[in-house]
């Protein structure tokens, strides 16, 4: 019968209309963010050995770091800046870090009102409170909810 295809389709639509809703009511309902999520970056500045591996791994020259030397000839960090504007969020820097002190966070709402806020100064603002991601971690960390 001509039109039976349309009716069949409408029957499905009707069935779906009465089935469970799947729309997520963002922002009241928060989405589940995976443990390996690549969000913003976070740095444990005391563990960093200033080896420049992250800087060299980055395809876009996003990371700038400056370091000084203390009396034992040990390097310490004086500046660590991520120009997030040009970051591809590719993760090559996190994978390259031998000390695993550079990490992704599981944040995802990264829009800012002002351009200057896009730059991440990880030295002065280490963002250690953000939920971190287990991306590129050799020993899987304890999973957080």
């Amino acid at each position: 019968m001509y039109g039976s295809g349309v009716v069949k389709g409408l029957a499905l639509t009707l069935k779906k209309f009465f089935s469970k809703k799947i729309t997520e009511q963002y922002p009241e309902e928060r989405p589940f963010i995976d443990h390996r999520w690549r969000g913003s970056l976070q740095l444990d500045k005391d563990a960093c050995i200033c080896c420049n591996m992250c800087v060299n791994a980055c395809p876009n020259g996003v990371i700038t770091l400056e370091s000084g030397k203390d009396e034992n000839n040990k390097r310490f960090l004086t500046r660590y800046e991520v120009n997030f504007e040009r970051c591809l969020v590719c993760g090559l820097c996190v994978e390259a870090c031998p000390k695993q002190c550079l990490k992704f966070t599981r944040e995802y709402e990264l829009a800012t009102y002002f351009r200057d806020d896009v730059k991440l100064g990880l030295y002065h603002n280490p963002k250690l409170s953000a939920p971190s991601s287990t991306y590129a971690q050799k020993t899987e960390q304890k999973k957080e909810g």
């Binding site: 295809g5 389709g9 499905l12 995976d34 390996r36 690549r38 591809l88 993760g91 991601s133």
Partner: protein
């Protein structure tokens, strides 16, 4: 009745052009008498950028080609470099690559058919495939932490192994896919309005398809059985048992059907790959500094949109001397100007959507 010919700009900012594509279309009344495609709005010069990046650093840029199929783009590029350097890839990585490439094919076709049906005016029908695709994106993001730009493949293997909850979820998804596809056939394929709008519209003949160098579902809908997975098996595709759907008439309906059936075949391939998935490392032995020997290489794979090929010239340094990308969407788009002649504006939109182009790839 003769009317005055008018020229209309379709795009570049128009939702039905699937990105920033402009079609200057000449109309006689409502009927298109010809058209010129204007490209380049999304051109970022990726080929040139590659010359100033090291080989591994270019992998995230390939994500930005066909951004609905980043995983497959990654695969094509890393396999090209592996071919140039003669790197062995561990078995487990090979199997996982097949699983991910096929999942990506399903995800890309979901968007392809969904937006195609939406461009015919059926907005409900775009949400169903997007729901299914969302499940694939969940699988991807749990593995590599990204939903669109995965940057998952590495020269010599993969960046990560799959998490333990991945395989059960994947099984669940494959079982779900059967009902999902059945439902979609029920919703769309038998619909008389859909059939009236697509059968016989925008026909690409076999000769035309071959002379324009089309590839992927577009060429298989025109009766040419060409699939790189069968014609020049790469990776471990020769170990799998699957069919390549070929249709004869080359109209928009056939292009839709090829995609629908390919999704079923992809599910088959993934099932076989899970069955044989070995244990072991996912990254092979690769030198710290990737420095291919001087020489050139071309390698192509079957992307969801068609044959994606990379041509690399190496001068022995850590950066490519020259890199060229054979981008299937770009080549497939060439035929558009010819096949829209004589169709109404609404059909032109449908024909464009049935070619399933992505502007990130067209413009490079």
């Amino acid at each position: 009745m003769r009317t005055q010919e008018i020229t209309v700009n379709l795009g570049p900012q128009h939702p039905s052009t699937h990105g920033v594509f402009r079609l200057v279309i000449h109309l006689d009344g409502e009927v298109a008498t010809g058209g010129t495609s204007v490209l380049g709005y999304l051109h970022r010069g990726l080929e040139k950028l590659a010359e100033s990046r090291t080989y591994p650093q270019f992998i995230p840029y390939t994500d930005r080609l066909d951004y609905l199929a980043s995983m497959s783009n990654n695969l094509a590029y890393v396999q090209t470099v592996e071919k140039l350097m003669g790197i062995e890839v561990p078995e487990r990585a090979e199997y996982l690559r097949v699983i991910f490439a096929e999942l990506q094919r399903i995800a890309s076709h979901m968007v392809g058919v969904g937006t195609f049906v939406m461009d015919l005016g059926a907005v409900t029908a775009v949400f169903y495939p997007f729901i299914h695709r969302e499940k694939i994106l969940d699988l991807f993001s749990m593995t590599c932490g990204g939903r669109l730009t995965y940057n998952y493949m590495r020269i010599g293997g993969l960046s990560h192994d799959i998490p333990e909850e991945f395989l059960p979820k994947l099984q669940e998804f494959l079982d779900y896919m059967r009902t999902a596809l059945e439902e979609y056939h029920q919703l769309v394929t038998g619909n008389e309005i859909f059939l009236a709008r697509t059968k016989g519209v925008g026909v690409i003949t076999k000769e035309m398809a071959m002379s324009y160098g089309l590839s992927g579902p577009n060429v298989r809908a025109s009766g040419v059985c060409y699939d790189v997975r069968k014609a020049h098996p790469y990776g471990i595709y020769d170990r799998f048992n699957f069919n390549v759907p070929v249709f004869e008439s080359g109209d928009t309906f056939d292009r839709y059907m090829v995609r629908m059936i390919e999704m079923e075949e992809s599910v088959k391939i993934i099932r076989q790959a899970i069955k044989d998935l070995p244990e072991g490392p996912v990254l092979g032995k690769v030198p710290k500094l990737i420095k291919p020997p001087a020489g050139e290489v071309y390698h192509s794979i079957e992307n969801p949109k068609g044959e994606l090929g990379f041509y690399i010239v190496s001068d022995g340094s850590p950066k490519p001397y020259r890199l060229h990308i054979r981008r299937p969407s770009f080549v497939n788009l060439g035929v558009l100007e010819e096949i829209i002649k004589g169709w109404k504006v609404a059909d032109v939109i449908a024909i464009l959507a049935s070619l399933d182009i992505v502007l990130g790839e067209v413009d490079g």
